[in-house]
Assembly symmetry: C2
Homo-oligomer: 296 residues x 2
Amino acid sequence: MAKIKQVAITGGTHGNELTGVHLLKHWRSDPTEVARSSFKTELHLANPKANACNRRYVDQDLNRQFNVEDLNNHELCGYEHNRAKSLNSLLGPKEDPRVDFIIDLHTTTANMGMSLIFNTDDPFVVGMAFYVQQKMPHATLFFDPIERMKDSFLTSMGRHNGFLIEAGAVPQGLLRADIYLETKEAVEHCLDYIEAFNTGTVPELPETREVYQFGDKVKLPENEQGELTAMVHPKLQDQDYQPIKTGDPLFLTLAGETLPYEGEETVYGAFINEAAYYDAHVGLSFMTKTQISLKR
Amino acid sequence: MAKIKQVAITGGTHGNELTGVHLLKHWRSDPTEVARSSFKTELHLANPKANACNRRYVDQDLNRQFNVEDLNNHELCGYEHNRAKSLNSLLGPKEDPRVDFIIDLHTTTANMGMSLIFNTDDPFVVGMAFYVQQKMPHATLFFDPIERMKDSFLTSMGRHNGFLIEAGAVPQGLLRADIYLETKEAVEHCLDYIEAFNTGTVPELPETREVYQFGDKVKLPENEQGELTAMVHPKLQDQDYQPIKTGDPLFLTLAGETLPYEGEETVYGAFINEAAYYDAHVGLSFMTKTQISLKR
């Protein structure tokens, strides 16, 4: 595989996730921390307007605008539709990108710890996930495979489908130092891995690792008027990546009644009580636990 | 003292603090839970427009608009300035209010647990704080005395300066069932206390209790451009109501340097890393620990 020449670190793709925004500010003042000898690193605040408003987005979620069809559809002209096209010209074009790899920094209000989200089984990317997890054994691998051209995430704008670092729990609109430091460390490991890849010095990595694969979004219960009637159950709150079995408590109604999980298959929760999904009344995502191999 | 005849429970005074909003919805569907025999309870969503936008406020913080001078100043005509005047005609007028007592429901992103905030040493109000704490011993008393006419909180719109229930930690824009249930319980104790007060059956209460008294807001460090250069130190994060002594870590710069507390007096932190104060770069409040007596 060709060497990686151009890496972009992006943050503030969601304007109220401040960790990435402030890491970019810090690295701009001290670029040596993200510099490596075998490639160039560039830093981009992805949605400055949403960040200035302390909102996730102005018109649309920016991190759903990067599939190639939408990028080439000039009927779509909301703020983030245009911003995606502008990032397409800065980093892309998607069909033949200037940038080789993108590391995009996110946070969540869910208790997901250090989650490494990647959308491809490309051995360069899987190797990065395994490498970072070797350095940060508490990190969780979150796999959501999709063909790069159809992928709507900003991370899909690189030549290799990239890497999304999702750290939590942290409320929107503030910094938590622990989350800031963990994210900083994860990025440094990513850059070290790319350097090792380019120089043929990647250490021995496992053959397979456990991953959580994205399944379904689960809606919070609503009444006929579309109003919320229940919330995430206290026993499920903060239990991201833990098993949910038939009969386990899922929701608690506003009146105090427990609603159990009625599925037969054991699933695993993620994005449990993520504030950003509240407008759509999504309470959590069901994941399946599986294995991923590092293809040689 | 005259009996309490009319009690208002208010929520959504800050539009993205959803616990109160959904408790009001629940009680509207089951009013018996907040009904007592000796007084009437009314329920008001204080800032419906901010709630619909999932924002703290539209133009101004509503919970700073209720001092009598501002209520009577018709030059002030932002959304919340007008909303405060409208609530003044619904609950007040401030100078001679229709409503006897207001319980206002708030949440915080700080780890303040169940905090009972009151602004007067009126024995009816102090008695309520002592009563609720007797039922919920983990609750903290937060005292911020100010004369009712000058008080800018919604709770000051009642004949007796009222009671603010502040529960956390919970991010903005979502419900946590544990916080919802705790807030519900605290309100029920408040109503039981009023009923006992009216019927002369208040149980024996302590003579004095520990309170945290509001002191100074402490700003996060900024550079010359007014940009944030540091965040709450990991050792201070979540340590609300714990002592801060000379030399204790206060902030961590984006570059990783620890900035200590340089004051000589031991203080106590509150609203540590409250998202709502981030726009003003306020990192926490310093409190002093003192005693309050229940005047007989």
